[in-house]
Symmetry: C2
Subunit: 200 residues, 2 copies
Amino acid sequence: MLTDEQHRQKMQQRKAVQAQRLAERTREKGLIIVHTGNGKGKTTAALGMVLRSLGHGYRVAIIQFIKGAWEPAEKAVLSHWSDQLAFHAMGEGFTWETQDRQRDIACAQAAWELALSYLTNPEYRLVLLDEINVALKLDYLTVTQVLQGLARKPEMTHVILTGRGAPPALIDAADLVTEMTLIKHPFQEQGVKAQPGIEF
Amino acid sequence: MLTDEQHRQKMQQRKAVQAQRLAERTREKGLIIVHTGNGKGKTTAALGMVLRSLGHGYRVAIIQFIKGAWEPAEKAVLSHWSDQLAFHAMGEGFTWETQDRQRDIACAQAAWELALSYLTNPEYRLVLLDEINVALKLDYLTVTQVLQGLARKPEMTHVILTGRGAPPALIDAADLVTEMTLIKHPFQEQGVKAQPGIEF
């Protein structure tokens, strides 16, 4: 256990290290961000970034590759920024709802074409491709297609790609990758249902 | 590779499984939620849950145990809900800024007393204890203290506790635990600085 004075000295050193780190990090660039893993929070953390960007006055586009992932509460929240935000729910539901692969593929491709129009438009500072990793995993889109699209984005545009099972080539191309890992989940263990304010 | 018809049949089975799962999950309860790990998105995902809850019309309290974790863009966003939201920035900065352990401990204890007043008030459906895990890790608060407080919350109140290094006893007491794992980070690898709309 350190004395208060030793603590003070240690913190003084740490502050110097922090200051040097900040001084070394001067580059600004649009980031390719991936939220993947089986845990919660992939879309929710992206929603937080969307709101931060809106709070800065930036234009944001959300393309939702699986319909139903966003619920009325999100829409109510986002309606405050309808002049800055383009929101497109492109999917037709989970794959087990539609039960029609050809229609799912057509939907995913249409969503991707729309996504490209925002990705290449420098007015949009953040583009959220929600659940696109699931479309990649199901081969509704190819990784090559998506990487070629990401290569066309303006330097300062941030892109967030969410969903389980992000392919390795996408992770290689990304700047910031976070894996949300499920440690404990009440739905499985306690029979608790999805609850308003938390899940939707 | 499945034929389209095999795909349809597989999805039909999966839909039945999903329906059964939903039917089994009937319980509603306030959740103790922990976001921990060294990755990004712990606070951001909590912010997303806060906004969902506000979108549902619920009252929400945010107690920030380390000042500086929330920036003007978040505050601009949250100002739309000032009638539903209690927001308290209680810390005085990172430990290496204050360099004064006794003052940090006093701040953390004051933040905890305030948190308790919201945790025990049934009007608040969600209480976010942002970066409290860091205060626990530094022994500014004891786990016993926090677990006793959580035990006093009304049945339907959700609590989110964020920060690296959540103690095992807290994880045991929690309902939903997600670990955000850093896979790749542009600050370390590319010298990129924290950027508006993403980091703050």
